[in-house]
């Protein structure tokens, strides 16, 4: 077999690490941003939503190209030597998926009944507590946003290939490995890698689903 076991492990590890870190960073920025976007009204909000919607379907290679042009040697950020490192992939992936996180969170929070906030206010909740109520009531939607973000990132090739460089054992992710093996004509290996990628994705989504359940469990325990 041309493709060695440790190569597969290395690619799996990198794909998972980069995907999880990027998703976490997206959540850290995107969830608050989405909540704020849902809460405020301003002129041009519809335009912002429209742009975000467009960015949902931005080709990954375009984001890759954009990040490449920012971090390559001759560019302003060239001195940081980020090109062809896992960090570069994370930067690109965060940019790629942030619109998904913001827009989905915004939609989920906007969909919460206006009465939820009013009920909270009349029961004595302060501004912060009221905002937390909206997030808590939208938590199913926000978890869906996290899942969609991860889904987009674990399967993307463009950013990883362009700014990661597909370096053996360093920036080779599952998807770039599949692309490479297919190009080399190692069709069977590529299919196997694809299967592993799907199983990984299933595992992460199962974790997210159980997180939804445990949120509820914790509130049950709290009450006792």
């Amino acid at each position: 077999m041309v493709f060695q076991m440790h190569e597969i492990f290395s690619a799996v590890r990198l794909s998972l690490c980069v995907g999880v870190i990027s998703t976490a960073l997206c959540a850290l920025v995107g969830i608050p941003a989405g909540c704020i976007l849902a809460a405020v009204t301003f002129r041009g909000k519809r335009l912002v939503l429209c742009v975000l919607n467009t960015l949902l379907s931005i080709p990954t290679v375009v984001v890759g190209l954009l990040v490449y042009s920012m971090i390559c040697r001759r560019s302003p950020l060239g001195f940081m030597d980020l090109l062809f490192t896992p960090s570069a992939i994370v930067i690109g992936q965060v940019l790629l998926a942030l619109p998904i996180m913001v827009l989905f969170t915004c939609t989920a929070v906007s969909a919460v009944d206006k009465a939820a906030a009013e009920t909270a206010i009349t029961l004595g909740a302060g501004r912060f507590a009221t905002a937390m109520v909206a997030i808590s009531e939208a938590r199913t939607g926000i978890l869906a946003a996290v899942a969609a973000t991860f889904g987009r990132l674990i399967g993307e090739v463009g950013v990883s290939m362009i700014v990661g460089g597909n370096i053996w054992g360093y920036t080779r992710t599952m998807t770039t490995a599949i692309a490479l093996e297919t190009a080399k004509g190692e069709f069977a290996v590529a299919v196997k890698l694809g299967g592993i990628l799907l199983i990984m994705s299933l595992g992460v989504n199962m974790v997210l689903q159980s997180l939804k359940g445990s949120l509820r469990l914790r509130t049950v325990e709290e009450r006792r």
């Binding site: 009013e118 009920t119 909270a120 009349t122 009531e137 509130t219």
Partner: protein, 318 residues
Amino acid sequence: MIEILGLKRFYGDRCVLDIERLRMEEDCLHVVVGHNGAGKSTLLRIIAGLDAHYEGTVQSTAPQNDRVFCAQRPYMFNGTVRDNVVKGLKFRRQLRDEKSVRELTARLGLAGMLSRKAKNLSAGEMQRVALGRALIVRPRLLLLDEPAANLDPHGVDAIQNEIRRQVSDGVMVVMATHFGEVAQRSGGCIHRLEEGRLTAPEIHNVFEADLLKVEQHTWARLREGLQIRCISDRAGRRRIAIPACDIVISRQRLDSSMANVIQGVICGVRRMGNQLELEIDAGILLRAVITPDSFDKLQINVGKEVFASFKASSVRVL
């Protein structure tokens, strides 16, 4: 106490609320009656502090965080009934007292459903949860929008008892309802809204009276030699009202459970829609409503002597 001056609320250019002056005293139940769309909910939401887009002044002695509003279709938070009931305590960072949670939920008939998901309840159950959720924080001012709208008769009794209990505990309660009957029975002070404006409540036979307690009965003395039985814990000079439709007219003195029988002479008959309104001079001027059929059957007319009977519980102390 709530004091409203020159209150106006517009939706677009439609004026949905226009109240020149309204004062609600502390120690009683206030009932806002009106048809759907009369502005009841808007008024309650403004008093609750949930709607700030109005003109005029609304003042209340209860601070904002001591007023709790229960919507007609209450919002249930994610989680169980119990989560919902104690939510207010969490917001206020108050410790919950398990005993009072249990007592309150038992009184409202929620004891058996504490661990059910609140979003799956029926509308009537949600209303009871919403009331419990409001009461647990012990507000000074409780605003209830159609609290009995989706309840079965048993549930209505439970809620009415609870409201009475709160009023006697010193909580100011303002309730909106479109059921005139509910309003009359509640024994509260009625404010009638029609298309956003206050109109005179449909009550007749309003008299000044001195309330006296003799043994276990309460008597209202209307004037020298004329007193009627009523049910009230109050004393002193009060206004009382006898709903015109609660008065039974007869030619002979009725032998019945009705505690009050007043003799008088018919001094006027007027047509009111498909009913007749009689004016009876009995030392006081009483108005009674009867159907034209009964009028013919009794063979009465102006100048005839009749007896007006009504129950002690019909007499409302305002």
